[in-house]
């Protein structure tokens, strides 16, 4: 398994190569949000920008934006999440949102250790 990085806004990113990556939200984020009931995802071919929102998730408590850790182009979307948002609650690190290619920029990223320290 590739190394995982985090943003301060609670997304995770796993780089598959230097310019491709999978993105999701952290286990801490899903725990704080509670049971998720809807997910809105971008489409294949959409551009995402580091630090800008690219998706949103809705729990019984609130709707929250999901921000992209990288700048690039969406190559794949995990459509299973649209019908089964509970997959994110079950395993946040398996439930990836999008796969991005042609990555040209990254937001400030934290290691697992740094991220855990931030939430402690």
């Amino acid at each position: 398994m590739k190394e995982i990085f985090f943003t301060k806004t609670h997304e995770w990113v796993r780089f598959l190569t230097d310019t491709t990556a999978r993105i999701g939200i952290s286990d801490y984020a899903q725990d704080q949000l509670g049971d998720l009931v809807f997910v809105n995802l971008p489409e294949v071919g959409d551009e995402v920008t580091a630090g800008d929102e690219f998706a949103d998730v809705e729990s019984v408590k609130a709707v929250s934006n999901v921000y992209s850790p990288v700048t690039g182009t969406v190559r794949a979307v995990n459509e299973d999440l649209l019908d089964h948002p509970e997959l994110i609650n079950e395993d946040a690190y398996d439930a990836w949102f999008i796969e991005v290619e042609d990555i040209v920029d990254r937001a400030e990223l934290l290691t697992q250790e740094e991220y855990d320290a931030m939430n402690a």
């Binding site: 049971d35 009931v37 408590k61």
Partner: protein, 478 residues
């Protein structure tokens, strides 16, 4: 409890409609239904009992304490309803000649004048049906203003993270893109961040004030100056006006547009889905963009005027929720200028008093003094005892209390947002503060029990997740 469709019997019914006293004209064949309408077939007794049963199961401000933060669930004086029931207001048709409804037009005009005085605006329009609708109309005014000046690059609305959630949503609906800026740790707009993001693309700035943590932004004049200097307009979300009536006016603080929630601040019933009223107000230079028709004085009588060619157009059929305006005007005239100011002062004092009673027991991240509401965080309690804000709120139901707003604002974790309003007595505030402390004590001693509450209500814990994921939105006929 059975649904009304499950009551009654085939062929049963009651005749509630009077005989038609005008000639009957049948619509064209192609508009007629092919099948009978599936209406409940119930007797008047059954209908009456059905709704009485439903009424017993609801909880409103007439039943008890209802401190739903951000919603201003104040008591609504009955005289407001008495006025709204007058036949001169209820038995009119929206298309009737203006000369025959001068009294109704006068209600709208007088309420406009009163609210202009309260807000410092130059005009108020009553078409928007509720708060977010007022925001939408207000933002459209900002849009029209920049378009009219050919300043078309102004497409961004700046919203602090302590704003009402409707602010960014309304801005997006009105066609803007939204820039979010964080608050300082004191809960105010971060001026450095604001200076960084304003520029030639700034259409406007939306401030919820007092904000969602119950703070009046102490830099408000500096904020509106920064936005104006960048060429943007300032929007005041007046949903929390209950804290400042007769004390401070958005119009004097550099705001160009404001919306009000008559159903909150001006004491008309809400909470059951409406009807609400979210009038939008603006300064002189934006009046020509307001929805039409406007009411004007012409040759000594009031008349509708739709001449403006740059108006954003109608945002609702006819003149808004008129009878809500009648109630609001009654409230304003009953209290008078001094009374409105007193109402706000008491709303603020009540919130601070309750905050004071609770502050030694609970974690209050922005400890005040607050305005009309304050926010408790149960983050520690959840970490230590596993009792969440939801558990806490559900337990309050067993004590005959409506819980505060929960999980809002988002910047406070496990939030409970308490807005007692001015219409609660000191005895109620003390009693409720004791109950909150008792529940806190129980959370320490028997946290498991709180996961199961409420135990005394007809409905325990509805499955909110299932309801959101698999909603059944209509009756399933057999």
């Amino acid at each position: 409890m059975k649904l009304i469709f499950e009551k009654g019997k085939e062929g049963r019914g009651c005749e509630m409609l009077p005989e038609s006293d005008v000639p009957v004209t049948a619509p064209s064949e192609k508009f007629l239904r092919k099948k009978e309408l599936r209406l409940p077939q119930v007797s008047e007794t059954e209908i009456s009992r059905h709704y009485t049963q439903l009424m017993k199961r609801t909880f409103g401000v007439n039943n008890g304490f209802y401190p739903l933060g951000s919603c201003t669930m104040k008591y609504n004086p009955k005289v407001n309803d008495d006025m709204a029931k007058l036949p001169g207001f209820t038995e009119v048709h929206p298309l009737q000649p203006e000369s025959t409804v001068q009294g109704c037009l006068e209600v709208l005009k007088k309420t406009e004048e009163a609210l202009c005085e309260v807000t410092g605006m130059d005009a108020i329009d009553f078409q928007p049906a509720a708060g977010a609708h007022g925001e939408f109309a207000g933002l459209k005014l900002i849009w029209a203003y920049h378009q009219d000046r050919k300043d078309v690059k102004r497409t961004k609305i700046i919203v602090p993270d302590s704003a009402h959630g409707t602010n960014p949503a309304s801005a997006a609906m009105a066609g803007f893109s939204v820039i979010n800026i964080p608050s300082t740790k004191e809960g105010y707009v971060d001026l450095e961040e604001l200076r960084k993001v304003v520029g030639e693309d700034t259409a406007g700035f939306m401030l919820t004030n007092p904000n969602t943590i119950g703070m009046f932004d102490e830099n408000i004049l500096e904020i509106t100056r920064i936005v104006h200097e960048a060429g943007g307009l300032n929007y005041y979300d007046g949903a929390n006006l209950n804290a400042i009536m007769g004390i401070a006016r958005p119009g004097d603080m550099g705001f160009d547009v404001v919306h009000l929630n008559l159903h909150k601040t001006f004491s008309t019933p809400h909470g059951g889905g409406g009807p609400g009223s979210g009038p939008v107000g603006c300064k002189e230079q934006l009046i020509k963009y307001l929805p039409t028709p406007r009411i004007i004085n012409k040759d000594g009588s009031l008349t509708f005027d739709s001449k403006s060619e740059v108006s954003i157009g109608r945002v609702k059929a006819f003149y808004g929720n008129f009878l809500v305006v009648v109630r609001a005007l009654t409230y304003i005239l009953t209290l008078g200028a001094e009374g409105l100011r007193k109402a706000s002062e008491n709303a603020v004092i009540n919130a601070n008093y309750m905050l004071h009673l609770l502050k030694d027991t609970f974690d209050i991240p922005f400890p005040g003094p607050c305005m009309h509401e304050f926010v408790i965080s149960l983050e520690e309690l959840k970490k230590e005892k596993g009792v969440s804000a939801l558990d806490f709120a559900k337990t309050m139901l067993d004590y005959g209390n409506h819980p505060p707003t929960m999980y809002f604002p988002l910047i406070v974790h496990e939030a409970l947002m308490v807005e007692p309003t001015e219409t609660e007595s000191i005895e109620t505030l003390k009693e409720v503060a004791e109950i909150y402390k008792q529940i806190y004590d129980r959370a320490q001693k028997e946290p498991e029990a709180l996961h199961l509450s409420p135990v005394t209500t007809v409905v325990g814990r509805p499955d909110e997740v299932a309801a959101a994921r698999n909603p059944i939105l209509r009756y399933q006929f057999k």
